[in-house]
Structures are given as structure tokens and as C-alpha cells.
């Protein structure tokens, strides 16, 4: 493998077509799993399935095209958005009840005057907290995968590449 200067992978029509068909359905299934209230599932499970769809796309089409779908400028925003949502809801419960409720007690929001407290809790769990957890987990796992797989042009790699060429010639 050191001697050839050819392509690293070949294009395969079957795998590309099937991947292009499967990725949207995997993402819809991930959103279904993320709402964990009526069946099995939860925030972590849905986030990991979503990250799996990004990994499938990247493995098939190459890392440059995969990085274009999830650009690096979105990385900082999506990483911390889930955590902001979760901790923010907790602080909101303290602020909105003027110091009478505890942190993360969802029944203290004024929404519980309109619907019953049990309904408020179910709404907050399934629509705010789980989606926040899912976003953070998805972005972190995709970022870890791209970091582990990127063959960058740092100082060490440049020296190694030069060394290979000299040995060949």
C-alpha cells in the first residue's frame, strides 16, 4: 500500500444508492425513539441512532462530503444547546415561582394552571428535556467520530510522509 499512489476507495453504485435511500428513514426512526413517553426510548437512545445515520453517510461517501453535511461551525452551537435547554428549564422553575419551588420541579410553571400538573410534567419531559439531551448526544458523537477519523496535515504527519517518499526513491 505504500508504493501505490492510487485512490483510497472505489465508488460502488449499490452501496451508494442504498445508503442514500436509508439515511432519511433512519433519521425519522431516531426522532420516533427520542420521544420516549409512549413506548420504549428516551433522549440518549434517540441521539445515538441519529449519530449512527451521520456515520453511515460518512463511511459511504468520504469524509469531506460528510463534513459538509454537518459543518464545523455548527459544532459549538449544537454541543451546548441541549445542556442550555436542560439547565435553563430548571432555573426557569425557580425564577417563575418567585423562589417557592425547587430546581427542576416542572409543576411550578404557570402552565400547570391551565392543564393539570401531571400533563405539564409529561409535556416538559417529552418535548423539552429529551430533545435537548438528544441534540447534545448526537452532536458530541458525530464530533468524536470526525475527530478520530480525520487524517490531518499536522507537523508530525508531514515529516512521516516525506520519510516515505525518500525510502521509495
Amino acid at each position: 500500500m505504500n508504493g501505490k499512489k492510487g485512490k483510497i476507495w472505489e465508488e460502488n453504485v449499490i452501496i451508494e444508492t442504498i445508503t442514500r435511500l436509508m439515511v432519511p428513514f433512519i433519521q425519522i426512526y431516531a426522532l420516533y425513539v427520542m420521544v420516549g413517553t409512549e413506548g420504549a426510548g428516551g433522549g440518549f437512545q434517540g441521539g445515538v441512532v441519529f449519530a449512527a445515520s451521520i456515520v453511515l453517510f460518512t463511511v459511504t461517501f468520504g469524509i469531506s462530503k460528510g463534513r459538509k453535511r454537518l459543518p464545523e461551525s455548527w459544532n459549538a452551537a449544537l454541543n451546548s444547546l441541549g445542556l442550555y435547554l436542560y439547565a435553563g428549564v430548571g432555573l426557569l422553575c425557580i425564577v417563575l415561582s418567585l423562589g417557592a419551588a425547587q430546581y427542576l420541579n416542572y409543576a411550578a410553571l404557570p402552565l400547570s394552571q391551565i392543564m393539570s400538573p401531571a400533563h405539564t410534567r409529561a409535556l416538559m419531559i417529552s418535548d423539552v428535556v429529551e430533545v435537548g439531551i438528544g441534540l447534545t448526544v448526537m452532536s458530541i458523537f458525530a464530533s468524536i467520530f470526525f475527530d478520530l477519523a480525520w487524517k490531518g496535515e499536522g507537523k508530525k504527519n508531514k515529516d512521516k510522509n516525506k520519510g516515505d517518499k525518500e525510502v521509495q526513491e
Binding site: 426510548g41 409543576a107 411550578a108 419531559i125 429529551e130 464530533s143 475527530d147
Partner: protein, 182 residues
């Protein structure tokens, strides 16, 4: 074999022998009355010799001696908060209402049972999942007990866990961004 492989094998065999030694305390597979699933014996008992004990339990009053002994062990004692006694098959349930701001509902805490030998009344303590299984639908409204436990009953732990994932991502970024790309 290399010397470290032989030493590791001996160490692993010794550890296996230790695990055999403690295996009699592990509950059976599928036991519905193990301490993790149902209740734990607190070894606080009182003689059933006194006549008025059963009548007072039916009327909903717990004798002072039991309350003080429960409190001396560090558990919440029934005589200081509101409590009620219900009769179920095999014993009596004691429900205690803790002082919470928005949901002061009584929950099942202790289970009093009569043991045959020696005519004693023994106090058991319910474990927490019993309350989850019974109250999950009406307190939270989510049929899935695991999600209700993760996001509402134990929501603080989930906040810490999301922070752990976030920190792992930041650690990988700091380790692996090559020079000039961060």
C-alpha cells in the same frame, strides 16, 4: 508463557474464588421479594402480647415505642408527620406524607407483618420502585416508567450525565485537533 500472563491468571483465579465466597448473599434470579424489588427487614420487632395492639392498628394508631425505635435508627418516624395505616393481605401498610412544597401526598413507607414464631410484629421498609410502579401514571402522566424515572424522579442525575458526555467531547477535541486547526 510470559511471567505477567501467569501472574494475571493466578490473580484472576483468586478473584473468582472470592466471588464464590460471597455468592450466598446474592438473591435468586427472579425473586420477587428480594430487597431490591419489594422490602427489607429492618429487625425492629415488638411483642404482640398486648391486647390493644391490633385494635389500635385497625384504628390507625401506631404505638409510641415502635415510632421511637424507628426514629433511633435514622428513618422518618410516623409520630412526627401525618400518617395513615391500611390493612392489606398479610399485614398493615403505613403511609407517610412527607413535607414537600407542591406534592404532599402520602407514600408507602413501612410494612408491618406478624411473624408466627414468638408472636412478634416486625417492621419492613418498602423500596422506592414500589412507589414508582403505583404512582407513575397519575403523578407524571407518562406510561414509560424508565423515562419518568430518568427525567423527573432522578432528573438531577441526568443533568450530570449530560455534562459528562459534553466533557468527553471537549476532551477529544483538545487532544486531537492538529496544530493550527483549532
Amino acid at each position: 508463557m510470559k511471567p505477567i500472563s501467569a501472574m494475571a491468571l493466578l490473580f484472576v483465579v483468586f478473584l473468582g474464588a472470592l466471588f464464590i465466597y460471597v455468592s450466598e448473599d446474592i438473591p435468586d434470579f427472579g425473586d420477587p421479594y428480594s430487597p431490591a424489588n419489594r422490602y427489607v427487614n429492618l429487625h425492629i420487632s415488638i411483642d404482640v402480647g398486648a391486647d390493644g395492639l391490633e385494635d389500635s392498628l385497625r384504628a390507625g394508631v401506631i404505638p409510641e415505642e415502635l415510632s421511637s425505635r424507628i426514629k433511633a435508627r435514622g428513618f422518618p418516624s410516623p409520630s412526627e408527620t401525618e400518617y395513615s395505616v391500611e390493612e392489606v393481605e398479610g399485614g398493615w401498610d403505613v403511609l407517610i406524607a412527607k413535607e414537600e412544597l407542591l406534592y404532599p401526598e402520602p407514600e408507602k413507607y413501612y410494612f408491618l407483618k406478624e411473624e408466627e414464631e414468638g408472636n412478634k410484629l416486625v417492621v419492613y421498609r418498602y423500596s422506592i420502585p414500589v412507589r414508582w410502579e403505583e404512582k407513575c401514571e397519575e403523578e407524571i402522566g407518562v406510561p414509560n416508567m424508565v423515562t419518568a424515572g430518568l427525567a423527573d424522579y432522578r432528573g438531577y442525575d441526568t443533568l450530570g450525565e449530560t455534562t459528562v458526555i459534553f466533557t468527553a467531547g471537549i476532551a477529544v477535541i483538545l487532544l486531537l485537533r492538529r496544530r493550527g486547526k483549532l
